[in-house]
Amino acid sequence: MDVGPADPNFEERCVTNSNQWNPDRRDFLAQAAGGLAAMSLFPSILPAAPTLAAAGRRAPLQVALIGAGRQGRAMLTELAKFEAVRIAAICDSDASRLESGVKKTKDATGFADAKALLEGAKDVEAVIIATPTHLHKQIALDSIQAGKHIYCEAPIAHTPEDCGDISAAAKDYKKVFAVGLEGRSNPVYSLARSFFRAGGLEALVSLRAQAFQKTSWKTPASDAAREKALNWRLDKDVSIGLLGEFGTHQIDVMRYFADSEPTSAMGVSGVRVYKDGRDVADTASCLFKMSTGQTLSYEASLGNSFGGRFEVLHTTAAAFKMAWTHGWMFKEADAATQGWEVYANRQRFHNDEGITLIADATKLASQGKLKDGVGLPNTSLYYALADFVKSVTEGIPVAATADDGAKASVAGILANRAVVTGNSVEIKA
């Protein structure tokens, strides 16, 4: 029996399907001893790509991409991998980006305006919103009005009010409304989450995350008039900063793993690196209090790339580190030992040794290819988009709902306010 991260009954089916599995048992790992017992719980955790056959369709889903910037381009690359998808239309108000996006497809029609696309591209069944964050709301509401299935990038909006409006509009929407919180579709995260939750939520000690990359966040424009529009992330009137743009995704990972909501945030931020007149911080530190009592320590910077982007959950038995395409479990010396660890792939990190979390480990182990499974065979974005397409074409439940998107986005937005003002900010869903 296959179980997978997109299955809404994933845990329940595991509970009923195997005597070896009980997410509430703190001694799960010990009881999993014996050959590959633990890994055999995941016979095929890698979800299949959306196909026409699985969808029972003869024609591919007609999709429109709104926003053909860097993220939009990455989406086109991933969507092109699905035989069940045809990119029918692309929209961007920047002519150069629009041309580049259209060129990436076989025969998409280009639009410079989202409303024109929604009115003109009648064959479009689903829209993907990848515009600047502050433009999401109107496009999302217009797309709902037009009756399209919707995938909206996270953060879903730049103010808590807009997040609320989108969430409310999506609440009783009869079509799919999914949010691009990729951690919820990522097979490595699903695998790590299952191990984490097997240890019991009460074992959680603390949370930590970072997003470090070396980039100016500045977008060059061939046309000076486009400069301001393209550099919306550095426009303090609409930008939600590092906490909003990066933090939203990572806060949601913690929500997803620990069933815990941030309740307050405090921190500092500043322009440490790029003295080019900007007033949106390039470096920030924030401490969240979580509803379950722990703290989430968060750092982000555009001035250094060391460590990249990752999240760590410390429990009394192990630490789980997730870095989007890779995941590791670092066990405490006094944690129970399992037989399958003998077969596990390991990586050394200074004084610590991480057990590599590998999706489809059982299958790979049986083929003697366990090492080949290190790292996801597709990008995190691929799995999020695959889930969306399958929600539309196969009816699987949405991986990240508008409500998830709103809660995570509001936390990111308010945390940004905290680090900008230096005040503690209460976070209410």
């Binding site: 860097r70 381009r73 990455a74 086109l76 690359t77 092109a80 991998k81 699905f82 035989e83 150069s96 060129k103 990436k104 497809t105 076989k106 980039t215 100016s216 500045k218 977008t219 060059p220 424009a221 061939s222 080019d276 395409t325 080949d372 790292g375 996801l376 065979p377 597709n378 990008t379 691929y382």
Partner: protein, 314 residues
């Protein structure tokens, strides 16, 4: 290679001309934007280097999520759907493969693996399998233009090491030109270099190629050049990395081949073709494209030559 930008840099101070770098495709790309102050140059350089990173993500043979990773583990006959950018790249490769009569072949990955040229730790105790045309060859790539999909008909493995850097550099140059840049120099691992404009001195960008082997000085103006050489790491069996697709063995070839062209992809690919083809270059069925010029070292390469990587001065 030594580029005149070095002297400019030391004469004008550390911060000029702005130099930006990216680790990708197993090497280091560097971009010089001499006409701009660092503050203005950085976002432009980031945009250009982002394009290279995107191509790295697509063509990296060692990443399971790349197109090459997916292709190389796909079941023969399984169609892989791709975007039009990647399709265009593959068709370009097909055109060079055809024009070179097979001397350029990006489907040699499996054979390179057999020869111990794809692994950091080749199996020293095993002799490589005898060449078998059943394990390589671009002819075993199937095309579906209606759905932009490709498949391998037998378990060939792709390796775009002889063209990927050049192709990515061309796309980065496209971006720079779109952004109005009139002076730039970019190289990937010092084996492929391309220039926009006449260089800061107005006399072109002067590149001294492998000076320790009496290589020439080449002047670039809105053009590109690449060098191919068997030098570099040898496998435990003594194979160098320039494989002759006609035999499946390391090519018997000159110490270096240099190709100048208007595009970096052409210079990258045709420098390999030159090395593999040797004296038969341009004869038989090969059609060298207009604008491509090639120089071959008169000396034959031997494994007694030093195997350090090519000297870099950029």
């Amino acid at each position: 290679m030594l580029v005149n930008a070095l002297e400019i840099s030391s004469a004008a101070g550390e911060s000029w001309p702005p130099l930006f770098a990216l680790e990708a495709m197993g090497t280091r790309f560097e971009l010089l934007l001499p006409a701009l102050h660092e503050r203005h140059a950085r976002p432009i350089a980031e945009a250009a280097l982002d394009i290279i990173r995107e191509w790295h993500d697509a063509l990296n043979a060692f990443s399971p999520a790349s197109f090459v990773g997916r292709f190389n583990r796909s079941t023969p006959g399984e169609w892989l759907h791709i975007d039009n950018d990647l399709w265009t790249f593959l068709r370009y490769c097909h055109s060079v493969w055809t024009a070179s009569a097979g001397a350029f072949d990006p489907a040699l990955g499996a054979r390179m693996h057999d020869l111990g040229l794809r692994s950091m730790k080749p199996a020293a105790s095993l002799s490589p399998p005898a060449p078998s045309r059943a394990s390589w060859g671009f002819s075993h790539l199937a095309w579906n233009p209606d759905h932009l999909a490709v498949a391998r008909t037998i378990p060939i493995e792709l390796d775009f090491g002889s063209v990927a850097k050049g192709w990515a550099i061309d796309r980065a140059l496209d971006e720079l030109k779109t952004l109005g840049i009139t002076e730039a120099l970019i190289h990937g691992g010092t084996s492929t270099v391309a220039a926009i404009g006449d260089g800061p001195s107005g006399t072109g960008w002067h590149v001294h190629v492998i000076p320790d082997l009496d290589g020439p000085i080449i002047t670039l103006r809105n053009s590109a050049m690449s060098i191919s050489s068997p030098r570099g790491r040898l496998s435990d069996h003594g194979h160098h990395h320039v494989i002759d697709p006609r035999t499946g063995e390391s090519a018997r070839c000159a110490r270096w081949a240099i190709c100048e062209a208007t595009s970096a992809a052409d210079s990258d690919a045709w420098s390999t073709v030159a090395l593999v083809s040797g004296c038969s270059l341009g004869t038989t069925a090969q059609t060298i494209p207009t604008g491509v010029s090639i120089r071959l070292d008169k000396h034959e390469w031997t494994s007694a030559l030093p195997t350090q990587t090519l000297r870099s001065g950029v």
